[in-house]
């Protein structure tokens, strides 16, 4: 290396340009020497298992039915604030899923085949610890769990968490009663053709009947049938069928019909009580704009707001997702807002859920497997998670 001085032949008469060039070259040379110096090594790492942070009201459990390979359904835990997947729970084939009343457990009622897509069928109710997402016990049930596309009442806890109910379909309908603490199967109760398990109180299970009535079975302290009663007709399945996807309200569930009638049912008493129905759609929009999709609505209970996925449709359009989201006040039954839903990126909204905190997020799973996150107060898009699984179709809140 040569020194930079008068001996190199550059004198006072050298042009400023040449000097600058020389300086630049030397600087580059010095920099390259620095770059060539090996950096300090990275510290060694320890393999660990990530831990979940404190539970957030903006977390959402997303059931992906994995339609193209249906034996591999799963539940993703997703953070609506950080937009990260936090973990996963396996869910088998055509599962029912639900959360325990204390939010500590995700229950999965599902089927496994001994050899992947075939072989001996085992139906099982699995309990997953929501603090670790690890499996925390199971109960084998008879191989007749009601296998269906995502349904909100395809497995359920009693309000006090002492029983778990799992619907059976062979296609004869009944349901199993489980003890989720002892992890035991208590028994089976026939439902005379009525389907699904709508839990209420510590010991009541209602099922929806073809006649448009509800069958309510009351259990004794041991989980055996103590009594049963059939309600008056709740809806007319011929004139205006009811979606079976009930939405949890303050004291029960709100159900919607194909044509957009809201049926609020108070399940807080010994027998379900039907409040007067009210319409989502009036005037010229009636019969034209309809609710539809899979999980067609969500309720923000503290704010008394109902969100519904709405589309323009007709006979047979009841599974089409929403091109708009309509917002209603549950006290006045007035429509508060009508938000267009951007269907260009990934189709219409097929499943809705809203968080229950003071600054709620509205989650909307789409036909194209995105999950859009909206400000539930304004409807503005906060984030769009592309391709959250294959077929996200049911969203549950902690």
């Amino acid at each position: 290396m040569r020194d930079c001085g008068a001996a190199d032949g550059y004198g006072m008469g050298a042009s400023m340009h040449k000097i600058l060039t020389r300086v630049a070259l030397l600087t580059l040379f010095a920099s390259s020497r620095l770059l060539a110096a090996p950096p300090p090594p990275l510290p060694t790492e320890t393999l660990t298992v990530a831990k979940l942070g404190p539970k957030s009201p903006h977390w959402v459990y997303v059931l992906d039915e994995a339609q193209d390979n249906e034996i591999d359904a799963r539940v993703y835990l997703y953070d609506g604030d950080t937009h990260r997947r936090l973990g996963q729970i396996g869910a088998g084939f055509m599962p029912g899923i639900n959360l325990s009343p204390d939010g500590k457990t995700t229950v999965v009622a599902t089927t496994y085949f001994a050899r992947g897509g075939h072989g001996t069928r085992t139906d099982v109710v699995e309990f997953n610890d929501n603090a670790t997402l690890a499996k925390a016990g199971e109960v084998i049930v008879p191989p007749k769990h009601a296998q269906s596309l995502a349904m909100t009442f395809d497995v359920a806890y009693s309000a006090d968490g002492h029983f778990v109910y799992v619907p059976y379909l062979t296609p004869a309908a009944s349901f199993g009663v489980l003890d989720p603490v002892k992890k035991t199967l208590i028994g089976e109760i026939d439902t005379a053709g009525c389907v699904l398990v709508i839990p209420s109180g510590p010991n009541r299970v209602s099922s929806i009947c073809e006649s448009g009535r509800l069958l309510t079975v009351t259990l004794d302290a041991h989980g055996k049938e103590a009594s049963r009663a059939t309600s008056a007709p709740m809806f007319d399945p011929d004139k205006d069928p009811l979606f079976v996807q009930g939405i949890q309200s303050g004291d029960g569930y709100l159900f919607l019909t194909f044509l957009g009638e809201a049926h609020e049912v108070d399940f807080s008493k010994a027998a379900p009580t039907f409040r007067p129905t009210w319409p989502l759609v009036t005037g010229a929009d009636k019969g034209v704009w309809r609710p539809g999709g899979i999980q067609i609505g969500a309720i923000q209970r503290a704010q008394g707001k109902l969100y519904v996925a709405m589309h323009r449709g007709g006979e047979g359009s009841h599974k089409e997702g929403g091109s708009e989201i309509w917002v209603f006040d549950l006290k006045t039954h007035q429509r508060l807002a009508r938000w267009p839903f951007d269907t260009k990126p990934a189709g219409r909204a097929v499943a809705l859920q809203v968080s229950q905190d003071a600054t709620p997020l509205l989650f909307a799973a789409t036909e194209g497997a995105d999950v859009a996150i909206l400000d539930a107060q304004t409807g503005s898009l906060k984030h769009r998670e592309k391709h959250l699984g294959q077929t996200p179709s049911l969203l549950l809140n902690p």
């Binding site: 089927t111 075939h118 007749k144 596309l149 296609p171 053709g193 399945p237 079976v244 047979g316 089409e320």
Partner: protein, 185 residues
């Protein structure tokens, strides 16, 4: 309620009054199993091929595009699929009325009424599932004309109709003509 549905509804109710649920289901199961083995009605479909076959696609919808007759059993818009929900067996090694090799037809199923714009007739069809292998994953199709929720099980396409098969994994769905539907008089 669609008049054609009412015909079957009334018929089913009449049977239900005379029989137990189990024997009704057994009868229906035998009927549908038998129906699946009947040859197709002699319907010449070539005359109805008014448009080029649409490419097989993933899709859903309530009705074919207005004014367009689709005669491609690999298209979701094919008339027989008016209330199907699943993967079209036509795209999975079978046809619109045959299960792919190595699968087993479901003996129980749901039934519907579809209008064939090619001959102007309504047909009673059964939507059987083919079972025993993992879902085919091709040509998903969901149409729901007169489809009803699970409480009206015989009109429901959400449940796994392979449920009663020895091998109950769902693979794909077919639509089998059971006969011409006569309108209610």
């Amino acid at each position: 309620m669609h008049p054609l549905d009412r015909v079957f509804e009334n018929s089913a109710r009449s049977i239900a009054k005379r029989t137990s649920r189990r024997s009704l289901l057994a009868s229906v199961g035998r009927m549908l199993t038998g129906a699946a083995l009947l040859p197709l009605l002699p319907v010449d479909r070539s005359a109805r091929a008014q448009t080029p076959a649409a490419p097989a696609k993933q899709g859903s919808g309530t009705a074919p595009t207005a004014g367009k007759v689709v005669d491609d059993p690999q298209s979701c818009e094919y008339w027989k699929y008016c209330a199907i929900d699943g993967f079209l067996c036509s795209c999975c090694g079978g046809t619109s009325n045959s299960c792919p090799p190595g699968t087993q037809p479901s003996p129980i199923t749901w039934i519907g009424t579809c209008h064939n714009p090619g001959d102007g007739r309504d047909y009673i069809v059964s939507y059987n599932d083919c079972c025993g292998k993992v879902s085919c994953g091709d040509c998903f199709c969901n149409r729901n004309e007169r489809e009803k929720p699970m409480y009206r099980l015989s009109r429901n396409n959400d449940v796994n109709w392979c449920m009663a098969n020895t091998e109950s994994d769902y693979h794909c769905s077919v639509s089998v003509i059971l006969g011409v539907a006569e309108p209610e008089k």
